[in-house]
Symmetry: C2
Subunit: 211 residues, 2 copies
Amino acid sequence: MKRETRIPNATIERISLYSRPLEELLNKGIRVVSSEKLAELCKVNPAQVRKDLSYFGEFGVRGIGYAVKNLLSEIRKIIVSDREWKLAIVGLGNLGMALVRHDNFLKRGYRFVAAFDSSPRKIGEMIRSDLVVQPPSKIHLVISELGVEIGVISTPPSQSQAVADMLIEARIRAILNFSPIQVRHSGPCLVQNVDFTVRLDNLAYHLGQEG
Amino acid sequence: MKRETRIPNATIERISLYSRPLEELLNKGIRVVSSEKLAELCKVNPAQVRKDLSYFGEFGVRGIGYAVKNLLSEIRKIIVSDREWKLAIVGLGNLGMALVRHDNFLKRGYRFVAAFDSSPRKIGEMIRSDLVVQPPSKIHLVISELGVEIGVISTPPSQSQAVADMLIEARIRAILNFSPIQVRHSGPCLVQNVDFTVRLDNLAYHLGQEG
């Protein structure tokens, strides 16, 4: 990575979160938003919003706020979601199918261009007009041919490490792992493990505080 | 627990993340872990681990590390995952079914005790030996009777706000919303919106940095 890594990862995640209400404001035709309002919509404090955005330059106008359209387009440039990313998914059980059909992926430029499953029952199935399930043995070939950049793993936990290894061998650049075990890896591939229960832990903590 | 709430939310989330590799270490029979090793497993820096844990008291032994079993049980007390929480799920499409069947929920004490869907085709279906799909009209009654504390929304976006309103009216204490729109709410109910694409944005940002 070339950049000085002084921007905290938490800032990157929040920047991405800020874009969600901005999308809604834009759809409603609202042109300007204050850091206070944006903070309220995102449930962080206004100083945090201003600090996070200041890492990337001066977007706001003091006393007025941010131009919604402009701020959204700047955020998309920062998080590089102003282009299309090619995704492959491995594992087409309930979770995999839910991910492929989830509106937000394509809306935000994440396009599933390949799908793999080891079940003979699934192989050959057309899960979208442009997406046919292929066997894992094709992972290497398809990923190179299509230039897939991000792999999404939604297999049972027993298969996820092997699948990660195959994706990494195929020189995928990043993996988003939804299976309930942490995937181990080395080398330049970026890996994010998604764990739904972390969110529940957070709710449980706050409920516990309420007594 | 009535603690001063000066603990940052990011610390709470990391504390919960720390518990995942600790579970694996415990399963492997490893008894002690250094803050360096734990930090490496969680991809944060060791000073962060020590700082986060210091909010809750002195767990480590200087020069030795943390007792895995002890630290894990302390973390579970902190995030109140040392007890069982009762969950209801609304929306049993692919995502809802995946969530109900996801190993990690029950493993971490989150038990689905009620399930709702508006589709006549789903109502009455036994999705687990102890879980039958009920119509949304039963939400209020069932949640009070069973003492459900956390509602999980996995409906299509067009229904999620109405479902959230019903859950809140039934005096649920917290909501985890997986539908792709942010749910609006007021009052004491805690709401977390889960957005899968935030993780992808994070990967995209780092890939963009690599060029």
